[in-house]
């Protein structure tokens, strides 16, 4: 299975830490930098709306948003197709994860297919929130290659600022919006090969991260943070042994939850800064879109002989990884 192209899109509106403080939230810039290390994040919400309402009625948020999750996904997919050298109409299958879609029916994959002019194919949403890019890669790797169409698009699109409570002390500093798209093919070769995948879950802890249909995002922060560091380190140890990973050469991309969590992981595995690719400082936690966006942002920096280890986790609780080799 080959990765032919990766694309991404962020909405243009920036929420920097000063904007967060201007909302009257009981926090400080020092606290945000020290605890999560995020300086900016993007949002589909107009800043005037945020200042006026602090998003206290999230039902209104999507109707006022500058971009829907489908809009974000469309832009990411167009970039991915351009990089893969294909026309979107050539895509035969779309898998999508939308952490908080504007509609539940029709599903996001079908809406995206229609938006980019695909006439016929197989479209479904494969959902597991933040680790969805690993789930999608795992599904690609689990299916018989002969059963797949020539081009498959795996898309993650997230607009969690629409379900963020902007009076809460912590959550507004975390979330950012964005989308990523990856074009896979079993038949058309590229220099980026998907060589290993893994995905699993412990649903007995699924209450730790939730978004209510009529409410806000909520998580058990401490439990999730501890889980995130411990489980990512476990996954990295496994991948290091299986694939002879050399962090002086190979690259780690983690779940972009926050900067300090990622630092704990890279410190533990002694991953040098140059081979830890991240965008959390400038874009925050982009949920399922975060890690694949980072890969897409570094698409032109991939080097021959390098392995890219994308290890992600989140709601479910679920976790998984995808390992790519640049040939």
């Amino acid at each position: 299975m080959y990765l032919l192209g990766a694309g991404y899109f962020h909405p243009p509106t920036i929420i920097d830490n000063k904007t967060i403080l201007s909302l009257g939230i009981d926090t400080t810039e020092e606290w945000i930098i020290e605890k999560i290390g995020i300086q900016e994040r993007r949002t589909v919400l107009p800043l005037s709306y945020l200042r006026e309402t602090k998003n206290q009625d999230p039902q209104k948020a999507l109707s006022l948003a500058t971009h829907s999750p489908t809009d974000l996904a469309e832009q990411a997919l167009l970039m991915a197709c351009q990089r893969a050298g294909i026309n979107p109409s050539q895509i035969g299958m779309i898998l999508c994860d939308g952490c908080f879609p504007s509609e539940l029916i029709p599903h996001e994959a079908e809406k995206i297919a229609k938006r980019v002019g695909i006439k016929e194919g197989i479209f479904f949403d494969a959902l597991t929130a933040c680790p969805a890019s690993a789930l999608h890669a795992h599904l690609m790797n689990s299916l018989e290659e002969t059963s797949l169409p020539e081009y498959v698009a795996c898309i993650t699109t997230a607009a969690l600022t629409t379900v963020t409570d902007y009076t809460d002390r912590t959550d507004p500093a975390i979330w950012g919006d964005g989308a990523a798209a990856m074009i896979y093919s079993a038949r058309k070769k590229s220099n980026v090969k998907l060589i290993d995948t893994f995905f699993t879950a412990d649903p007995t802890r699924c209450g730790a991260v939730i978004v209510d249909r009529y409410g806000f995002f909520h998580q058990d922060g401490r439990a999730v943070r501890d889980f995130s560091v411990r489980q990512t380190v476990r996954m990295l140890k496994e991948v290091e042994n299986k694939h002879a990973i050399d962090w002086q050469r190979d690259v780690f991309i983690g779940h972009q939850a926050n900067v300090t969590m990622l630092q704990q992981i890279t410190n533990n595995r002694e991953i040098p800064e140059k081979n830890h690719w991240t965008n959390a400082t400038q874009f925050g936690n982009q949920a399922s879109a975060g890690a694949p966006i980072v890969l897409a942002m570094h698409w032109d920096k991939l080097q021959s002989g390098q392995k890219i280890v994308m290890a992600v986790l989140g709601a479910g609780l679920s976790w998984g990884y995808a390992v790519y080799e640049v040939e």
């Binding site: 039902q59 029916i105 029709p106 016929e120 929130a129 009529y214 479910g316």
Partner: protein, 313 residues
Amino acid sequence: MYILSGAVAFAKTKISNNDITSFQNSLGFVEQKFGFVDSRCSVLAKEDYFKLAGKDRFQADQNGTPTILGAEALTVACESLGIALGDIGILIADCSTPRQTLPSEAQRIAGLLGLKIPSYDILSPVIAPLMHFKLLNSWKKNQLPKYIALLYSNTPSCEISPSLNAYANFFGDGACALIVSFEDVRGLRVSNVNIQQRPSDESILSVYANESSGQNLLGQRLFNTDQEILKEKISQLTKARICLASPSIEILNLAEQLSEQTVLTGGVSQSGFALSTSVAATIIEALSFGEKFNLVACVADSFASATLERVGG
């Protein structure tokens, strides 16, 4: 792939056509247009079914949620097969009406049952069972556990507004669980899975994630299946009894004419149309009835079919 067992768990409140008449003047419409739906199941109390709207309706479920109904159906499906819940290796779900958009419905159901297994949603409204079959038939078999649980759980009665839209009265709430396997050869063999999806302007219904305004579209478009395409597709299938869940009497009549046999409808006449749950419920009927079936699902411009054949005892 073999479907070994299954179970349904419909919501407890029954709303009859007479109940509808007492609350609104639409029974004539109901009987004229889709006379075979006699009642529908709802997780709402009867008075809430008629009176509440929007968010209040969504939050008033008193006798079940997709998660609770799904857990109930899966428990019974395992019991009827004689396996423990812990024997399930993967749980895949479809739910178009979740109470939370995150985590996935599969993870909520697995969590409620205490299962620590890979679980995630693969959503394809209404045709989800066939989408799951297609993916599983394409799976590398050495990567699958012995028993796989497929869950379909939907509560569309919480998303509608019957007082505004008579079509809404054809929806019902429930869950259906199927236990499938590639190793355990019995039950119904699934083959010839064919899916044709054409993205369309015609959504069968529009359930908004945080605003129950779907009532404006809900219902009418469910009946917009192109009957010429349906006729052409069914004519291409090998002659066999058809499993087809639809609230449209025109579509069912067409299927009966083409197959020259009674159609298995998954109990839609008594439980209402519960999206993918009803499609899966036709398979439960097939498990205890006959030898060979054409499973058919159609919505708007999507058409899906598969052959189900009995094997073993």
